[in-house]
Amino acid sequence: MNTSVRVHVSCDASALALGAGAIAQAIVAEADARGVAVELVRTGTRGLLWLEPLVEVVTPVGRVAYGPVTVADVRALFDADFLRGGAHASRLGAIEQHPFFARQQRLTFARVGLVDPRSVEDYVAHGGYRGLRNALAMESSDIVQAVIDSGLRGRGGAAFPTGIKWKTVHDAAASPPSALGSESSKYIVCNADEGDSGTFSDRMLMEGDPFCLIEGMTIAGLAVGAEQGYIYLRSEYPHAHRALEAALANARAAGWLGADVHGSGRRFELEVRLGAGAYICGEETSLLDSLEGKRGQVRFKPPLPAIKGLFGRPTVINNVISFASVPIILERGATYYRDYGVGRSRGTLPIQLAGNLKYTGLVELAFGVSLRELLYDYGGGSYSGRPIRAVQVGGPLGAYLPESQFDTPLDYEAFSAVGAMLGHGGIVAFDDTVDLFEQARYAMEFCAVESCGKCTPCRIGSTRGVEVLDRIGAGIERAKNLALLDDLCETMRHGSLCALGGLTPDPVVSALKHFPEDFAARTAGAGG
């Protein structure tokens, strides 16, 4: 065989956890042993996580996937001539035709799993940097307008219109009021402190298509007049860190970052900064404090970060997916993007299916799909085979939804209407063995562990919340403690400085509301 065959194995953390690294090594070793030329390419994941480790072979008729593959399968795959798409029990055919994938609308995640995340050339070959090229030819205010027109809202959870935020920064004066110092600057900050339970889309994008994030942030820099950006990455994401650093180095070397972005004379620098394990640093103002080298502690707003953000300067702070959604908007136009979605929720949302589901992974779809479709048509129902009893959407502070609410469409306003939130698009499913009292207690405990400690309702309230729930669980003065819990949730919801304390009552109150039977007196010793 003279020409080598391209074989794709994911280097995404989820695939690695399932042994993709060993598979890759085994394929190379087997190829060597057989004298077969194989070009092994490590890509991101396609997002069909139950099929990882997934191996894709580039054949004349397209990519053919095999999965999940074990090391023990590798020899058999060669024997089955998988390099030419040969038949094997694990052969899946083209991923694009897989039912989990075929119905998706991949805009932001179009390249994830397809491209080599380290290769600028691969990125450009798959349509990358077209958005930036367009942006470089535009007035900054037109870039901002395109993002406004696209209807893109912050994908980190708060769903604030991204373009409006950019406009505020665009319109802000770069210098503080006094004439101090020569540095007049604005900043672009990416919140990559993805810490919600059941979420992984940020990581998946950074590991699978980091240039998309880099391009989005560069466009943001052009749009608002910032020359420096930071990616605040949680330290628990070492693979994403390596992927980003490699991509940044390559983007710089290829002239897509630095003093002269793609020969435009425009400057944009980007650095990765690692967090130190605090959930609260995913809250944007804590993140800014942490980025400044301070203790990660929530700031009050106003002033908004867009006016007074990093180092006191106007700052765009967006989530990874928000930035990564921008290149296609600039490439295909605002209308193209806003044509997806429903109501005021435009475009697509990368939904992360997790928990007790048969098929877990990433599903990018236009807004409007119902929870039920996602759970059953995509997720295939529960992994255990038992009925799905509750779903938590939007991370640990999201409300618990009962079966009766499964028809709620994925739409910011529709979720809000049922007292829930879409958040970062993470969906965690529970079957009928779940104990919602324990889940409610966990919400308070989570808040107690992760509270920055600045405001009183969150700092003391979360600890008291665990204690009150324990008394309820133990059947001690039940009515009094349920009333106290109600008051406490009111105090936390309306009194807290940020969303951590403010939203912690949501899972507690929703659990209590929809699953009151789980809050009956428990046997001694239960409830921790």
Binding site: S178, F300, P457, T491, G495
Partner: protein, 985 residues
């Protein structure tokens, strides 16, 4: 805990000029834009509950008690962090709001010691808890808590005490509980009472700028710690007390408050320490001082203070304070306690006797920069009018006399050009020969605040002073010059300004004398003044000098702050003039944010100079030879006055040794410790026949005295002090003078008056305000100043006259006081004090934060815990060459003498330079300083002494003699006290 006399408006005042109208609880309110809703409400008397908000600190938004409802806004915004907006409708009360506040307070109380309010000090926490009125803490007290040492087991039984030793006890001890930290001598920290509002942390960050405190841990485990969880005393804490003042609970509390209970009255007065002149509220319980609280409305300090002003007041009641007049015939005699009448009569008789025998000019007086303007004025009046000579001088001779001379020559007025607040508009700050964080700490905090905002900093100092690198502050340039080369460095900076075309030609043309400027330009343009040429002299790389000069000349508003590192040199006056030249050439004078600012050492050194303490000048810096001025004083005082300047302090010593000068009245200055070449000074003192010392303690000079008149502290009298910004502030009597001889006690001005009357020159002031009225009548720059006006305005910066009825914050605005600014030629002349093989090191001297000057006050307080002795700082290389290790005894030998100190090895020093402080008399720092002095003013060259340093095993001969003499004099004092006990008056 804040002052009992102040109300807290919650957030700082907005500086905006635009007014915003809104409605709060139906009340129409107009406040400046940028004001918080909380403050807007407070200003119309609507007191919204709060705990984390205080008007000395930026809003923080953590306690959530100040939640309100605002029409059109979601939820319950915190009023402290929400700025007012036009037309806003705010509701501060109502069911849901109050329910939320109760919810928050109930949470607070669930983690608060039950007995916290027992002392009834009226903390904000106590008042807020009472006001919000939580009847029942439904959470109970068995849950997680910082308030108890013990934890409950599963059955609810209380278990072990914190700090238990057995394994079981440790198991059951409450890991959240932290015991009281009483390590600081002045305050305690009880974490159990802490509500983690971060006011202490923010006070340390924002007000003090030390950033010693932090919140450790997060969530419920959050706790306030100093440095790396160290006891306060071992941490970076500088004990300024801002955190103690900020604390709304009893967590941080003055020990004096705990011991004495809450004060019942509060009197505004002015600090008697450094030249910053902080305004304080002396908080009193009966006649006892409970604590000093910096005055929020203080125009020099804005509610901030340092460890000296706030805490170091114990000297006022120290057992070593002398409270009875004493006499003795010769200094080897025991002291004898006498009545005021006898002491005054004796002094007056002796003075007249000596004058009769040795001539009118054989006696003189020394005024004190620690006493009030009124007292200083009276002493110089006593000398000029009653003694009949001009033999009056002051301790400013040895500190800022070159400032007076240098600034008068160039700008026309012997004072700094700005107020302190001006620094908040400076873009470039040049600090030369000053160490503000130690010597002027409250102003240093303000300067650091500006530096944290982004102002650029140039430090010219032989040592790497703290300001060079301190949290969130770093100097752009540290010009580490060799001691004694200020003038060469300043000329080099000026050379760059001229050679690189950075002179503001328009300003110079309009405001300065053309001929003098032309001469100066030619002088500094000479390549001999270039940084490259002077590098060999100063040791500062030419490139750094050039860059620093460019920054100073082009960086926006540039302000120079300087101290004794400029003046106490043989070319002190030259350096001051070089500074003024630099500022004039770059147009950095005559507006806010710029200027030439001497940092005055003592509380009233500016005032003592203003009041005519120098032998050649009447009050207001007017020469005694000026016939018209002299005629005015002759008419007012009713006696003929001398037209010839009198003796300066060093001349007095010379004359004493020659036998021409025989008697001296010294009010509040310790020349035997503070003047250079101690052996020379003590010889002169020993040669005199009658030395009258008026002081609080038996200081070094008093050991040579024949009459001791016990002075009064600043707490015991009325008057005024003038700080470094020419700010005249009131000193108010908070207690009766303690120096009663059994009949009554006297303030210092009254003692001078007694002496004058006894000498036959009548003085009949009933109150210091009458003295100030006389000063105002006779001194044009003080014409508009009176106690009533000061009381009305808070303080007044002179000049204050018909044209400037409220005083003058910024001088030389439209024209210089002398008309046209005058550039002076400033040729660098090296000091004759040179290093050589025998004395290869340069000794330079300075101060430290916790001690003040000769230490008479601070050494008699717990401040000794920070600095119990003067140390010799030496660079590691110099130490290693001499085999000196940390803590070794080292002998320091100069051409003048020898002394012994413990060494501390410090890379703050540059090789070849050693450093010490002079706070302890036994250190003998001035035994080794020489008699070299400023060519124009005789200000001693304290900052440059060639020395050698070597390891030794015992104190110097001088120190042994000093200690023997000290023991003898203390014994003579004890005899007076014993005798007094035997024969009560």
């Amino acid at each position: 805990m804040r002052s009992i006399a102040e109300t807290d408006l919650g957030t700082p005042k907005s500086a905006a000029t635009v007014q915003v109208a809104l409605t709060i609880d139906g009340v129409d309110v107009r406040v400046p834009a940028g004001t918080s809703v909380l403050r807007a409400a407070a200003e119309v008397g609507i007191d919204i509950p709060k705990l984390c908000a205080t008007d000395l600190l930026d809003a923080f938004g953590s306690c959530r008690l100040c939640l309100v409802q605002i029409e059109g806004m979601k939820g319950f915004p915190a009023s402290c962090t929400t700025p007012v907006a036009a037309g806003m409708k705010v509701t501060t009360q109502g069911g849901r709001i109050e329910q939320l506040r109760r919810g928050v307070m109930e949470l607070y109380l669930s983690d608060h010691p039950l007995d916290a309010f027992a002392a009834d000090l009226g903390s904000e926490m106590q008042r807020m808890a009472e006001r919000i009125g939580v009847e029942d803490v439904r959470y109970g007290f068995a849950g997680a808590s910082h308030a108890r040492a013990i934890v409950h087991d599963r059955e609810g039984r209380e278990a072990a005490i914190h700090g238990g030793t057995s394994h079981e006890e440790r198991e059951r001890a409450n890991p959240l509980f932290r015991p009281v930290d009483a390590s600081n001598p002045y305050f305690t920290f009880d974490p159990a009472q802490c509500i983690v509002c971060s006011r202490c942390v923010r006070a340390c960050d924002e007000q003090q700028g030390t950033l010693a405190l932090t919140v450790q841990g997060r969530g419920f485990a959050s706790t306030i710690v100093a440095s790396q969880d160290d006891p306060f005393m071992q941490s970076e804490c500088v004990s300024c007390g801002a955190c103690v003042q900020a604390c709304p609970t009893g967590a941080l509390l003055e020990k004096s408050l705990i011991e004495q209970g809450q004060a019942t009255r509060s009197v505004v007065t002015t600090c008697a320490y450094c030249g910053v002149g902080c305004s304080f509220r002396a908080e009193m319980r009966g006649d006892d001082l409970v604590r000093m609280v910096p005055n929020k409305d203080g125009q020099a300090n804005h509610g901030h203070s340092c460890v000296k002003g706030r805490f170091a007041t114990g000297y006022a009641t120290h057992r070593e304070r002398i409270l009875k007049p004493m006499l003795r015939a010769k200094i080897s005699d025991p002291w004898r306690e006498v009545s005021w009448h006898e002491a005054i009569a004796h002094a007056a008789t002796e003075f007249r006797r000596i004058q009769a025998k040795h001539g009118r000019d054989s006696i003189g007086g020394i005024t004190s920069s620690r006493c009030t303007n009124e007292e200083t004025y009276l002493v110089q009046k006593l000398v000029r009018a009653a003694f009949g000579s001009n033999n009056v001088d002051t301790c400013a001779r040895v500190c800022h006399s070159p400032t007076g001379y240098g600034l008068k020559s160039t700008l026309g007025e012997s004072a700094g050009t700005q107020d302190f607040d001006s620094v908040m508009q400076a873009d470039v700050i040049l600090v030369i020969g000053a160490n503000p964080t130690d010597a002027h700490p409250v102003f240093a905090s303000q300067m650091k605040r500006r530096l944290r905002e982004g102002a650029r900093l140039i430090v010219a100092d032989p040592r790497r002073i703290d300001l060079v690198r301190t949290p969130h502050v770093a100097a752009d340039f540290h010009l580490a010059l060799r001691p004694g080369t200020n003038v060469a460095l300043l000329n080099a900076l000026a050379h760059v300004v001229v050679a690189e075309g950075l002179v503001d030609e328009a300003f110079v043309r309009a405001r300065c004398e053309a001929d003098a400027f032309a001469r100066w330009r030619a002088f500094v343009a000479d390549p001999a003044q270039s940084p490259e040429a002077t590098e060999a002299v100063t040791g500062v790389p030419a490139a750094e000098v050039r860059a620093a000069a460019r920054l100073y000349a082009t960086g926006g508003n540039a302000a120079i702050y300087y101290g004794l590192g400029v003046t106490e040199h043989s070319q002190g006056s030259t350096a001051v003039m070089a500074i003024a030249n630099l500022a004039m050439a770059t147009a950095n004078l005559g507006r806010v944010g710029v200027g030439v600012n001497p940092l005055r050492g003592q509380n009233n050194v500016q005032g003592s100079c203003d009041m005519g303490s120098f032998p050649h000048e009447f009050p207001g810096y007017r020469h005694v030879a000026d016939d018209a001025v002299r005629a005015t004083f002759e008419q007012a005082w009713g006696v003929p006055l001398q037209a010839e300047p009198g003796l300066r302090i060093p001349n007095m010593f010379e004359a004493a040794l020659d036998g021409d000068f025989r008697a001296l009245y010294i009010q509040g200055e310790d020349i035997a410790q503070s003047d250079p070449n101690t052996r020379h000074v003590t010889a002169a003192l020993s040669a005199m026949e009658c030395i009258v010392v008026q002081d609080l303690f038996l200081n070094e000079t008093a050991k040579f005295a024949h009459v001791f008149l016990p002075g009064s502290t600043f707490l015991e009298k009325d008057g005024t002090f003038t700080n470094a910004e020419r700010r005249v502030s009131r000193v108010r009597k908070v207690m009766e003078p303690r120096n009663s001889d059994g009949t009554r006690g006297y303030a210092d001005w009254e003692i001078t008056q007694l002496l004058s009357n006894a000498m036959g020159y009548p003085m009949h002031y009933a109150h210091p305000s009458e003295i100030m009225d006389e000063i105002a009548r006779l001194t044009p720059t003080f014409a508009g100043i009176s106690f009533a006006r000061i009381d009305a305005l808070g303080s007044i910066q002179w000049p204050c006259d018909a044209a400037h009825p409220d005083g003058t914050p910024t001088m030389h605005v439209d024209a210089f006081v002398r008309g046209k600014g005058r550039f002076m030629l400033t040729e660098y002349v090296p000091t004759s004090e040179k290093v050589n093989a025998r004395y290869p090191l340069i000794l330079t001297t300075g101060r430290i934060l916790s001690q003040y000057n000769v230490g008479a006050q601070t050494r008699r307080t717990a401040n000794n815990r920070w600095h119990g002795e003067d140390l010799l700082e030496i660079h590691p290389h110099d130490a290693e060459q001499r085999g000196i290790h940390e803590g070794d005894w080292v002998g320091i030998t100069s051409r003048a003498g020898e002394t012994v100190l413990h060494a501390t090895i410090s890379a703050r020093m540059q090789p070849g330079v050693v450093y010490t402080t002079f706070h302890f008399p036994g250190s003998g720092a001035n035994v080794i300083t020489t008699e070299n002095s400023d060519w124009a003013t005789n200000c001693p060259e304290y900052k440059v002494t060639a020395v050698e340093v070597a390891r030794v095993s015992q104190p110097s001969e001088w120190q042994k003699r000093f200690h023997a003499f000290d023991e003898q004099q203390q014994a003579l004092l004890e005899q007076a006290r014993d005798a007094a006990l035997d024969t009560p008056h």
